[in-house]
Amino acid sequence: MTLALRSGRFGALSDAPATFVLDGALVMDPPSGTADVREIAVVGGRIAEPALAPADAPRIQADGLVVAPGFCDLHAHLREPGGEDAETVAGGSRAAAHGGFTTVCAMPNTDPPIDDPASVTWLLARASDASCRVRVVAAATAGRAGVELPDYAALAAAGAVAVSDDGASIPTGRLASRAMVAVAAAGLPLIEHAEDASLAAGTAMRAGPVATRLGLAGWPASAEAVVVERDIALAAETGARVHFTHLSTSGSVEAVRRGKAAGLPITCDVTPHHLALTDAWVAGDRRFSWETGDDDDVARPLEDGLAYDGRCRVNPPLPSREDALALLGALADGTVDAIATDHAPHPPQRKAVPFEEASPGMIGLETALSVGLAAVDAGRLSLRRLIEALSISPARVIGEERSLVAGRPADLVVFDPASRWTVDPRRLAGGSHNTPLLGRELPGLVRLTVAAGRVTWDDGLLA
């Protein structure tokens, strides 16, 4: 199945394997240490020595472009079943391909939730001709109700790559402990949305001076930290692999840093919006975290058109500037393993409402690379670290390898780091457009995405 978007075309995993030779691009392959301009060939869907490519293989001159292993998103909401008014597996996978992602982990907080082997099998079948590989994260508790544990071994056998009650934490320490014993036995990681429900109840944005001025109940940083600290202690007792998703506070990443130093098998991700956006966005500010100064005036008047934009409502809420910069620092130094999008599509009627009533979440698959490149351009992150965090490290969390060495199935993204584009609904492939980045110019255009040897997105490079 193909679908056009602007100049480009989407492909699917059911298409024929690709063959082409790319020349002149900067090949960035962190696992092999490659970071130089050279030829790279794909033959019959596999990375090949360029010399062995057939003479009639299409040759693409790709000067100025970057080739990297395909991106892997540990956290996306594809909304099937039950949320098709916001997104579908097909639409979400096109958004993924358009953003350079070749693997997307679908979160189980659907309606009904993905919490048994049959629903895992159903979702995998649904995604068999998608525009990216869809990996299934199954619910960590039956029905996401936080009471009973499902059969993790059966879920793993059906193809689940992790379990999570995303949208909420496992509610009690006792149940989290039992879940960790069980995931360790099943060989799955537990992806934890760290948030103490009692501290978060009734809140709409991050606590702090901005929330105080806006009259919105504030979400305290402790809401996240107490669960991270609890789960690190439990991971130490159980030996479970615990992955903390969308961390948003400096205290949480500090706790992860300590846990890793103690040798625990814990990992974590942050989202692009928690790196670049801040709580001041709720008041109408539209500068990235690194574009603001220490002496910033909290008393800036609200702007009629931008303040209380429901598209800035997200959970966990947008962080303070200090925490956003701390997350960037932790990503740069490796404490934070991965960037995950928490791509959360919502239809307009759930966002164009008073702020506190807006559904939390924003889309991210199609802007993650661009926001990351903006941080690279600002000197906050190296290009190599960005690629590791989008590709190598998240894939490793779900037990997959990524590399551009010859012989491996071709799984790559080709992007132009210098070209700029304006985020606009007409340039987004997903089913929903809920992002406060609309209208913003960002660096980085994905020109070609190849997943499992198939071209899933081609912005006029091949065809």
Partner: protein
């Protein structure tokens, strides 16, 4: 004999606001301009002049929360200035049938309502409202805990007249500041007009306000809040909220923070007393003090109409 204000309302120097959402959007000069216009409106209305600043305007009162004094004073202000008014009472309208705020306001906009006065329980609702409409202008009549700009303006007018000015004067605001849109708008308005603001109340109700509002001080005790104050505004205690907010029983609030004549005599004998109403007598303020000669509560209510006349006139046309 009747005279009239020019229809093309007093377009004050530099007035550039399409909506009135909070006082924070207004410069010091714009604030002073509204207060002076309110005084002029009050005088002319008292003299029996017929005023036409809102001739041709259709003012819709969209109150999603119950309100008596604010709604009535907006309605009267609009009518006195020659506007048609439509009371979009919540019960029985599509508001209660699940239609979204944006859809309702878009409908009003297309119907020809030119100014929508909006009261809503959600902070920021007027900002969402002004994104929904094309032609209509929005006046915030109170949004959640966030803002109540015309209340702040009428308080500023009341204080300015009682104190002979605001520059360098000190106002204490005492009570449930955290849940109060009146407190937030007053802090912004009065500090911009040169006054000093001190906050007092149970820790859970004043926490973080000094960081959020540079220059504002949080006092630890009522005595500390009142000392040196030229006026004190006490806020309504939502009795059901006291327990939930963890400030302890209401009698603890009364013991530590209730305003009485005796306490005022001891710590701020010359201070005026304000309250945005309605009062819980015997809780945040004694009945005796509320009715005393140093109470400005009646003046606050009286200033409601002229201040709202001035605010609406600014947005006309």
């Amino acid at each position: 004999m009747t005279a009239s204000l020019p229809v093309a309302a007093p377009p004050a120097r530099g007035w550039r606001h399409r909506h009135l959402l909070d006082v924070d959007q207004l410069s010091r000069d714009e604030l002073v301009g509204i207060l002076e216009l309110a005084v002029e409106m009050r005088t002319r209305r008292a003299a029996g002049e017929r005023l036409h600043a809102l001739a041709g305007e259709a003012v819709g009162l969209a109150f999603y929360e119950p309100s008596t004094r604010t709604r009535v004073s907006f309605e009267l202000a609009a009518r006195v200035l020659g506007a048609d008014t439509v009371d979009l009472s919540v019960a029985g309208s599509s508001v209660t049938k699940g239609e979204s705020l944006a859809d309702t306001l878009r409908t009003l906009d297309r119907t020809g309502i030119t100014i929508i006065v909006l009261r809503h329980a959600a902070a920021g609702a007027p900002y969402e409202a002004c994104r929904a409409v094309e032609a209509a202008r929005i006046v915030n009549a109170g949004d959640g805990r966030h803002a109540h700009p015309t209340q702040a303006l009428l308080d500023a007018l009341t204080l300015r007249e009682a104190l002979g000015g605001l520059e360098g004067r000190r106002l204490a605001i005492v009570g449930d500041v955290a849940h109060s849109r009146v407190a937030r708008s007053n802090i912004t308005c009065l500090t911009r007009l040169g006054a000093e603001v001190v906050l007092g109340g149970p820790a859970a109700w004043v926490r973080g306000f000094d960081a959020a509002y540079p220059g504002v001080r949080v006092a630890a005790t009522l005595a500390d809040a009142l000392r040196g104050a030229d006026a004190v505004m006490t806020l309504r205690v939502q009795l059901e909220r006291a327990a939930a907010a963890g400030i302890g029983p209401v009698d603890a609030y009364v013991r530590d923070w209730s305003l009485t004549s005796e306490r005022l005599d001891r710590w701020a004998p010359a201070a005026w007393v304000l309250h945005p109403g309605p009062t819980n007598e015997g809780v945040e303020i004694s009945a005796e003090l509320a009715a005393s000669a140093r109470s400005l509560i009646g003046r606050q209510v009286e200033n409601g109409v002229p201040v709202r006349m001035a605010a609406l006139a600014r947005l006309a046309g």
